[in-house]
């Protein structure tokens, strides 16, 4: 080892230590766990081979939670992307109080998800929530937002979109600011209207940001936990039970660490696959 190499290794040592203790070890341990049966407390962890995987294949509730999570993603991402894009474009204009609005939209991102979930659970309550109260003025009958199998997932998707909006606005804003001004100037000279400019210049030029946002929100969507945990408890009738919540239930309610780790590993591969597919289909070259 050359001397210069040695000091370089020394410099990255703290990070490597951190990485191995808090990332590598847990990941390897949980892979190992999928072949074992462990209830957290007991010192003996018997080897069970592929039993956990076999159980997963026949587990209706796992597939239900997966379906719930996919439904959540399908509702959440379009709302999130449309709103974030619109807001980013608006906040990119030289409007008054721009700094304030940028800050205000980011506030929910840094607020605790638990607090937000409690707040929205209260606002979405069927019988004394402010949302139904407002709808009542327009003659709309109370909607069981969190207590019906139809509405629970869309409601959670909305709350999650509201919370994360600011984060994606920032990504889009950064993307918007990277678009060369001369493209718009040229378009204007050629007589393009603002809608045309948006669809022909802004949207295509935002492709890398869009890709990032879609992948990040898909990953986030797969990890859905806080909102259903606090707002619906996974109900009614497991209609809002997400995969991560199912992992939690198996791990900390049923003490089935091995099975929970198995679902976790399968979920990780699903996220990886979804990200790769999205990358393949969404990524186009952006020319400057």
């Amino acid at each position: 080892m050359k001397r210069s190499h040695k000091s370089a290794y020394l410099l990255i040592l703290p990070y490597l230590l951190f990485l191995s203790v808090f990332m590598l070890y847990p990941v390897l341990f949980s892979v190992w766990l999928t072949f074992h049966d462990w209830n957290i407390i007991s010192p003996d962890i018997p080897f069970v081979g592929l039993e956990n995987y076999q159980r997963l294949i026949g587990d209706e509730l796992f597939f239900k939670s997966l379906w719930n999570t996919l439904r959540f993603i399908l509702v959440n991402i379009p709302i999130q992307i449309t709103l974030a894009l619109l807001l980013a474009v608006a906040l990119n204009q030289p409007i008054k109080g721009r700094g304030f609005f940028r800050g205000a939209y980011f506030l929910p991102v840094v607020t605790s998800g638990v607090v937000i979930s409690f707040l929205w659970a209260w606002m979405l309550s069927t019988d004394d929530g402010i949302i139904n109260e407002l709808l009542g003025f327009f003659g709309i009958a109370p909607v069981p937002w969190l207590t019906s199998e139809t509405w629970a997932i869309p409601s959670l998707a909305w709350v999650a979109a509201w919370k994360n909006l600011g984060y994606y606005v920032v990504i889009f804003l950064a993307g918007l600011q990277g678009i060369p001004k001369n493209l718009y100037e040229a378009a204007r000279i050629d007589g393009a209207g603002s809608l045309q400019q948006f669809f022909r210049i802004t949207l295509p030029m935002l492709n890398p940001a869009m890709l990032l946002v879609v992948i990040l929100s898909t990953i986030n969507g797969f990890q859905l936990f806080t909102e259903p945990f606090i707002m619906t408890g996974g109900g009614p009738a497991n209609s809002s039970l997400s995969v991560v919540m199912y992992i939690y239930k198996n791990a900390f309610q049923n003490l089935d660490m091995g099975y929970a780790a198995t679902i976790g590993l399968v979920l990780a591969f699903m996220i990886l696959a979804a990200s790769l597919i999205q990358k393949k289909f969404l990524e186009r070259d952006t020319y400057y």
Binding site: L10, L17, I41, S125, D127, T147, P236
Partner: protein
């Protein structure tokens, strides 16, 4: 390479220092105690610990309310996984304890010198026996019981033309008839303003201890849900219990939503199914409202029988992770001393498992002043806990789900719900 060695040594020292900081330095023992996060219980715990710490400078206790979550059991499990268990907690649900015991997480109380003597002097023998685990050991110090009953608003009863002092609502049909009168649209806008009752609509497993389970126990005269390691609740009584709650929701006697406020205190419901722990909060939130207490109703053909209900017992557990079992027991002994039991009764309005309570002058005069609590105390001997099974949570979760599908969502007949629940519970129990 020498430098690298030094860095490693300093990192190790740092780690060693942080991990040793809890051990204390001057031979002083430090214990951590987790009471339930209920405000009155936290206050009680803090008061008791303050006195203890003053008297025992060598054994200092630190109070940390149990962190809030969907259930205490989840918190305890998470803390066991994270190695952050306290020395003792006073919110052990006997139904969930065997999970910990089976996994070797609890300290056997009967192995502590003199502990059994103290416990059996304080608590009736049957109660102590009922809390013993299958291996014959006692892993929990019996602490308190909260018989589940129905608290009602006397003014609402009067308005609805029911007798507020001795309401005749002891059977299913009488109860439902009263519920129909109590559910009211006061301003004529077509929406209900006051509901008769508010059973929880969520599928959270322990919520069934406050609707399905006490009703079932009353109808089966105290028979619990499992027999041996088998579900034993596919019977007409269980079906009728679900049918009762299905009717409550179908007829709109109860709201199908969750609320973050105390509806009984706010006058939005007329009855609520709960234990004596609700009294302190009602007194605080609605000091001018008069409440009454009645036992849970029974099927029509059982009228007049002694009602048996869920006892919602909570006990004190010492964790195996403690480094000071003796000192922890000493503190637990102080916690369950007669003086502190009386203090607990008065401050939290909950009933300690103490046999001489009725005979005690101080307690008797307290009950005279608090007739509602006395009703609960009278019910206390006629209670049951849950079945002792390491799979209880999972089994209750399955039952709870079927209950919700039938009673709340109306997607299944009560017969089918009970049949499916029994099948699922048996599958769960069969899995190792």
């Amino acid at each position: 390479m020498k430098k690298l060695g030094w860095i490693l040594v300093s990192v190790l020292l740092l780690v060693a220092q942080t991990s040793c900081s809890s051990a204390g330095d001057s031979g002083k023992v430090e214990l951590t105690y987790w009471p339930a996060a209920h405000p009155v219980e936290v206050k009680f715990a803090k008061d008791v610990v303050k006195e203890w710490n003053r008297k025992h400078p060598d054994i200092q206790v630190k109070v940390e309310p149990l962190p809030a979550s969907r259930s205490t059991e989840e918190v305890l499990l998470t803390s066991i996984a994270g190695g952050t268990t306290p020395d003792l907690t006073s919110n052990i649900n006997p139904g969930a304890l065997s999970q910990f015991v089976e996994a070797g997480g609890m300290y056997a109380i009967d192995k502590i010198d003199g502990a059994m003597k103290t416990i059996s002097e304080r608590t009736p023998k049957d109660t102590v026996e009922s809390f013993k685990s299958k291996d014959g050991h006692l892993y929990q110090i019996p602490w308190k019981g909260n018989p589940v009953m129905v608290i009602y608003n006397k003014k609402h009863f009067k308005e609805a033309g029911l007798d507020p002092e001795n309401p005749d609502i002891g059977t299913y049909s009488k109860f439902l008839k009263a519920a129909d009168k109590l559910t009211r649209d006061k301003n004529g806008d077509g929406k209900t303003d006051v509901w008769a009752m508010n059973p929880n609509v969520e599928q959270t497993w322990w919520q069934r201890f406050f609707d399905f389970y006490p009703w079932y126990l009353a109808a089966k005269e105290g028979e619990t849900l499992l027999k041996g390691n088998q579900a034993a609740f596919d019977n007409p009584e269980a079906v009728e219990t679900i049918r009762f709650f299905k009717k409550v929701f179908d007829e709109g006697y109860a709201p199908k939503s969750t609320f973050k406020e105390n509806l009984l205190a706010k006058g939005k419901v007329s009855m609520t199914i709960t234990g004596p722990f609700a009294l302190a909060d009602l007194e605080k939130q609605a000091p001018d409202t008069e409440f009454g207490v009645v036992p849970v109703p029974v099927p029509d053909d059982m009228e007049g029988n002694q009602v048996i209900t869920y006892g919602d017992p909570k006990n004190i557990g010492i964790f195996k992770s403690t480094e000071h079992p003796k000192e922890t027991w000493e503190f637990a002994k102080f916690l369950i001393s007669k003086k502190n039991d009386l203090k607990f009764l008065k401050e939290t309005q909950q009933i300690p498992f103490r046999k001489d309570l009725e005979k005690d002058e101080e307690a008797r005069s307290f009950f005279e002043e608090n007739p509602l609590l006395r009703r609960f105390a009278e019910q206390a001997p006629y209670t049951r806990a849950t079945d002792d099974s390491p799979k209880l949570t999972e089994a209750m979760e399955a039952l709870s789900l079927e209950y919700q599908k039938s009673a709340v969502l109306g997607k299944k007949s009560p017969e089918k719900a009970i049949k499916d629940a029994e099948k699922k519970v048996n599958e769960i129990l069969k899995r190792q």
